[in-house]
Symmetry: C2
Subunit: 248 residues, 2 copies
């Protein structure tokens, strides 16, 4: 049974001009969403998606996304995403996504970390109990995208207020994941992105922001590294992220 | 030559949970983007897309979107979009998009109005000069989605400030079309959308908002009709829109 499950899932997409940012590349929020979407598709194919999880009153929760990209998918070109699971333990499952361009060149890698929660009790569920037979994990080399703790932002350069409204809310009535990424991106200007590329991006999801909440987006840049936090009005830390910029 | 060009273009898409709003439907901003994307794809197939236009130093500009939807594409279901051109005159070309669900039932129709501009002079271009041989326009019945002038908002209920930032900017360095739609949607609450559906939506694009501008989003609701304007800091009217809500 296990042997029949496809350990890889691949999808090729054409990036239209309408889907690009001012630098004619795939924007980071859409990039993150594409990673979540292909992970979801593969989970459904493997029979470990929403429908399977909810039978045990469980749901997948994304806890971290880390990416290292030499280049992003470019305007009016096809790109291919390939995803596979690399880890399964009690606490989390890790999944990688590789991005290739139409010439078969690898643009970069993304690592995602998923946990499962009991949807009523909002408590972690043991993944080894959910999947006693394991999950298909191909034995191939992968880049090390394990990043350390993101430091708290001290002495921020920018403190910006942002209120999450109706268009920001997803099917779980939480703020949509790509909306956090947008607010991280918004700490720098279009002109800045004209001369800098996001080479490395890391975001950790700690707590959900809710409809109507006015969050603080707090950031500091030191040399080529930016650190950004999204903080809810009651002080809870929603997300932490770190960007390493490179010159274009 | 003309006879070989496909007068219709069709695309079927699966709507994932991640792509849905809190009401488990396709959100209006994504809906508008999908309409623009399928129009762009068909224009490319017909050889009247960006590449063709720029040879005459011209570009398409979207001036109006009007939709009447009985229902929106639903979560975890396929929907099919079918588009065709209905009008070509000196000033504009009109194009319809029909949405059907997986059972072949029509969910509703969208009418889009496009003009062409000279990209340097930012002045209208005569479409009959650009396309002297005409464009394929199938002779089929279409619902009348011609809406009148949207009245100006007098005595607004809500005046909200919103600043367009890096994540809002498209490949032309203007605010992305679906960002205006988001700001229109944001004049009502998630709770309001739980009990009301957007049955009719109409948006007219007058002037582009720019990066960094803090616009005013001004609206008034009378009975089941909401009228929304986005106004730039210098007073220029960027968009006008009108929504007719129905009870769920």
């Amino acid at each position: 049974m296990m042997a029949e499950l496809p350990p890889f899932h691949t999808k090729t997409v054409f990036l239209t001009a309408a889907a690009c940012d001012a630098q004619l590349e795939m924007p980071l929020p859409a990039f993150t969403q594409a990673v979540i979407d292909i992970a979801t598709e593969h989970a459904n194919i493997l029979g470990i998606g929403f429908d399977r999880m909810i039978k045990d009153n469980a749901a997948w929760v994304l806890s971290r996304v880390s990416s290292v990209m030499k280049n992003y998918p470019a305007c009016n070109e096809e790109y291919t995403m390939t995803t596979w699971i690399t880890t399964l333990n009690r606490i989390c499952s890790e999944r990688y996504v590789r991005f290739d361009n139409a010439r078969g060149e690898t643009l970069g890698y993304v690592r995602t970390v998923w946990a499962a929660i009991d949807v009523d009790r909002r408590r972690p569920v043991n993944l080894l109990t959910l999947f006693p037979d394991g999950l298909p994990m191909p034995d191939i080399a992968k880049p090390d995208l394990t990043l350390g703790r993101i430091p708290r932002v001290e002495n921020p350069d920018i403190i910006r207020q942002h209120r999450f409204l109706a268009a920001d809310i997803d099917c779980n009535r939480h703020v949509n994941t790509n909306r956090y990424v947008e607010q991280v991106i918004n700490q720098w200007s279009v002109d800045f992105y004209d001369i800098h590329r996001v080479e490395r991006f890391d975001i950790v999801f700690h707590a959900e922001a809710l409809y109507g909440e006015e969050v603080k987006v707090v950031s500091r840049q030191e040399e080529n590294t930016g650190t950004v936090e999204i903080i809810a009005p009651d002080g809870r830390l929603c997300t932490q992220s770190q960007i390493v910029f490179s010159d274009r």
